[in-house]
Symmetry: D2
Subunit: 376 residues, 4 copies
């Protein structure tokens, strides 16, 4: 297998040190879609790095047909930024901005293609769209007023990612069950990952890498469709949430890597023989993004998290108990159950036991439905 590695400069520290990201490129052994896989853009979400390691091991056994770019530890600023013992990795400590909301997409380039290249071949459209996006990114980076730290990072990563046909962004939740963000058009491919909880998202762009990767192609497809031309969505992108932050587990990483291998095999990046059905495939639950809801703590207090993540909780059943130890020895209520008026599947919960009123305690699937097992 042909592997090359390099360091991508994505910023500069106050001390003058370059901030660099490791990039591993594997040259495909034949004809297959190209793939870009990134991990750890949120500093505390380390498990994806282990998954990339396991993927690389898998590729050594069975080389990919298409080109593959792997970017572990994609956000050195986030990884190296401590806040107490923990890693403050979801947002820039200076600006509060989420590191995964700073990618670029300007829908104007879609209009240009639809208006002036309506009849171009798929290959030409793809080539023009990639060139237009790359040019916009270069323009932004060259502004005499500069760009934000988060954009220095995101735009340079995005320039690599936009070359790929498949983009996978590896994350974790705080304390979390595995879950997957699935663009609605790709719902039939999602089961191949073997991830139990699936959130179906629309074509909107809110700044994340998965959206920045599929939105241009999806919106192009939609815009062409409106004008009467049927055009497939030529790039797929998924965000995989692989358990809990601040945790590295190489056995779990092996399992996660096999799910990705199965998807890549289904998509023709790997030979069919790479596919391995899981002995312990979970049931596949899903809901729409609008039904993926946060539950905010109705009181300040200390929390005993009760609900098992990934398991359905009936309406009225307790998700957690909120403790008010300031009421000990008084007539006031010391423990209060947190319940919801509808059935949910809790996906993740907050990482700390001490919460103010209004802290996001849980994220839950509501109005869930089932996805079929992969079609094999």
């Amino acid at each position: 297998m042909m592997i090359s590695t390099s360091k991508l400069v994505v910023g500069q520290q106050a001390t003058g040190t370059d901030i660099t990201v490791p990039v591993i490129k594997i040259q495909g052994q034949g004809a297959g879609p190209s793939v870009y896989i990134q991990a750890n853009i949120h500093g505390a979400e380390v498990q994806g790095n282990g998954v990339i390691h396991q993927l690389l091991e898998a590729f050594k056994r069975q080389p990919p047909l298409g080109d593959v770019t792997l970017v572990p530890m994609a956000n050195p600023l986030g990884i190296n930024q401590k806040s107490g013992e923990f890693t403050l990795g979801r947002f820039d400590p200076i600006t509060g901005e989420n590191w995964n909301r700073q990618y670029h997409f300007d829908a104007a380039i879609i209009d240009e293609l639809v208006n002036h290249h309506f009849d171009a071949s798929e290959a030409e459209l793809a080539s023009r769209l990639r060139a237009a996006m790359a040019a916009q990114i270069d323009d932004k980076l060259a502004s005499p007023f500069g760009v934000k730290s988060g954009q220095h990072l995101a735009l340079r990563l995005q320039k690599m990612a936009l070359e790929a046909d498949i983009v996978l962004d590896l994350h974790t939740g705080p304390i979390s069950a595995r879950h997957l963000y699935v663009p609605a058009y790709a719902i039939e491919d999602a089961p191949y990952f073997g991830i139990g909880l699936n959130i179906i998202i629309p074509s909107d762009f809110a700044g994340a890498l998965d959206e920045a990767s599929f939105s241009p192609w999806w919106q192009l497809s939609e815009a062409m469709q409106k004008q009467g031309r049927k055009l497939p969505v030529m790039v797929d992108a998924f965000t995989l949430e692989l358990g809990s932050q601040e945790k590295l587990d190489m056995n779990a990483a092996k399992l996660d890597a096999q799910g990705i291998v199965n998807y890549l095999s289904h998509r023709g990046v790997l030979a069919e023989s790479a596919y391995q059905a899981s002995d312990s495939a979970p049931e596949l639950h899903a809901c729409l993004l609008k039904d993926y809801r946060a539950v905010y703590s109705p009181y300040g207090g200390q929390i005993e998290y009760l609900a098992a993540l990934g398991q359905p909780v009936a309406a009225g059943e307790p998700l957690a108990k909120i403790w008010h130890f300031d009421a000990l020895g008084t007539a006031q209520q010391v423990g209060r159950e947190l319940t919801l008026p509808e059935a949910v599947i809790p996906v993740l919960h907050f990482a700390s036991a001490s919460v103010r009123q209004g802290t996001e305690l849980y994220k839950v699937l509501t109005n869930t439905f089932r996805l079929p097992a992969p079609d094999r």
Copy 2:
């Protein structure tokens, strides 16, 4: 003067302690617009509290005609949250969300008024709009899924603010000259504040208190206009940026308070006699919001801030010097000047001397124009 004080509960700590905000209500002595003035929603921006103190002293000498509500230290969570020695007050340390982007406005209530109450009197329209906004806020606060900490705070403040005809939100920048956010329709009133740097903003809503206060009324006015009815914008709101954060200066606060008194006198909240022309009225510069630009550091390094805030800087003149002390003793450049290709007026600069590449070093007015002195 009739003063009443109370504590508004806006949240609850993990320890069970209520989070409260002081509210001072002054009953107007006659007929005049009602006013809501708030300070310190960003925890480090304390100067506005001093201004409220000085306003109260001014009101004791000359009682207002309309009702006035004063809310100093509006964000106890932000004020009491330390991050090192400093106050981490611009955003929630848990979520990264700006405390001043969590107010509510749903444009649907405008459609309702235009479609079903087109011919209602101004008073009826105002009453219906306030009632609709209050009802929406109550609905949000009553959700079984809860609301965020920042919304617990913002929505309860907003419920008070939406009763007023004039809303002033007192802020500061990091290291900053005085500046004022002016809704475009109210540009003629702005000079009465006597603030040298003015940023003219459109009717969009992005979550801040000034926008949440004027957008409904402005959008109502615009929507009525489209249907042929001329309706004034019935509520005015301004964000005043009164110098630098982490600094309390009672002499400056007296000056700032007199500017507000002058505006309120112009607006009929105070008798004309309260107006005092300033001996040292600054020249009034302005630019559109789209021309109020951030300058991001092109390198990592340590910064010597050179440009005087509030003073024009010509194209090519240095704003700052970026030092690379890691290059000392080498052939590399140790100090680099930061210049811009166009003339600007620097408004504020970053609070720290050590910056990564992409840190927001300055905010500057570009394409500036002059506002006339107040018409008196």
Copy 3:
């Protein structure tokens, strides 16, 4: 059972809000030592609050003979101070000072007793020592130069604690097995807690509550001994580390509470009938404080924690694997095992997976020995 509750004011916020600690006092039903139990002086270490809740339930079933003071959530500043999602609770975010190193002890008061009251009765000595300590604390709090925030808190808690014959300070580690700090003179009492890992500490004072509670009495006993008078150590104090921070588990709290009940029953605070031998009593390991060692990461990297906490690890066996994902695809080593040249029992490990070189990865017992089971 006679319970009274109150709020102790221990500080004041920047916003003027009092900082208060809940205090629950139970009047003893007969003759027995008095007890002071405190939890959560480190903001993230919440489990002790649950244990106090379970103790209170146990006392309702079987009232104590001696007076008991319970102080849950002893550090509101630490509990309410967030740093990202987590609670920054081990040290003051402004000064870096550990909240549990700010108690007071001045050995000069021992000399005074030995020199001038050598022949006083035990009761008189105890009374004089308590009075002297209380007077010193009052003096400090009255200084015209003021005292630190951490001392406002610690000294006021200490004033309550110094009235008791038994002081228990409930903590947790970061990710941790249960362990107990045992003053060497009280080693025979330690097994009654039923905690598997025991660290035997000398009579030195370094600022913690257990030391501040036993050191005066221990040093008095030692000083008297030197002069030929045998005097028991009249106050016992232990620090219990009840598992991991940021976690509240009421079932575990019940078990922890029973261990404390067993100790208190052994000491005569509760009737003998309160004692319940555990079905799952652990083996009791111990080492001296000087042999309780930190293991600092030899490299920067991402950590897979391997060793089971509380279980012996042989010399050369891996405690953890340090991953260098920047070496993926290169000839460099990607994963390195962390081993030690001697047998240890890991007690706790760091809470985050991303570490710089020199981060404290583990604390381990070395040169361990066994303690006998409680003598019943």
Copy 4:
């Protein structure tokens, strides 16, 4: 002038990046003491880097006689660690430990010299002491249990510093006047720096670089003296506090550099001609370290700092006003003056305007006396 530069590796990030410190070595042009000058060990204290730049410029004009080692930006971890906008640079964000309290000194090596090499020449004693200290540092760094991040940094810096005859550690306060820590034995040299406020310190070791540099030599001198041999203190070390943190001012740096040049000229590191008497030499105030006192805020509140730093404040005169804006409109006191019962010279004040009860508001010289002007 012979200059060589290098990067000293002092640690490794979680991402695997080496943490390096720039080192500039100037070879002396003749016979003179060797000098080690370091800046920015506390991340926010940047001014010393500018001073090192100006020193280097001065050395280019007038090369030093002895060897000089310059270490700007000595703590990359501290400089690059943001906490909100500001630099969290006084202590390790993970452990709370002050970066300038982690140097090493073990007094046992003094006993060894006194007991076994009492009659050795000064040169031999110096050589043995340096070798013993270097060996201890190497031993610590080689421990199989590892050492802390702060020690990786401090010990490697200290290995360079211990080769020098003069060690200068450049710091700043939070908001601060220039001040100087002077070891008591070197009090006659202090005035050459031309710094107005001087704190006279004893020979104790508490972990700082100045102490780590002079304590071994001072304690050796004291121990020899006790045995009847008069031995000079062979190494001098000073901590210079050059104004306020987070501020880089190259004009001030030039002034600061000239003070150091004057001292070095007095000490023979530079020719006498390098000395330039200052036009604006300040009066020289001093007090003993035990009289350098912190003033803690007696209340929580928002602070208006009133006293001019470096200027005497009489007993009863206000240092600051503490504002309680929660009392506005009530009968309670809104502003309270902070006074002290004795005359002081305020040296520095806290960097933030919002403080809890017990925050260190000021540090002040008490019981001051005057130092004579430099003897020239």
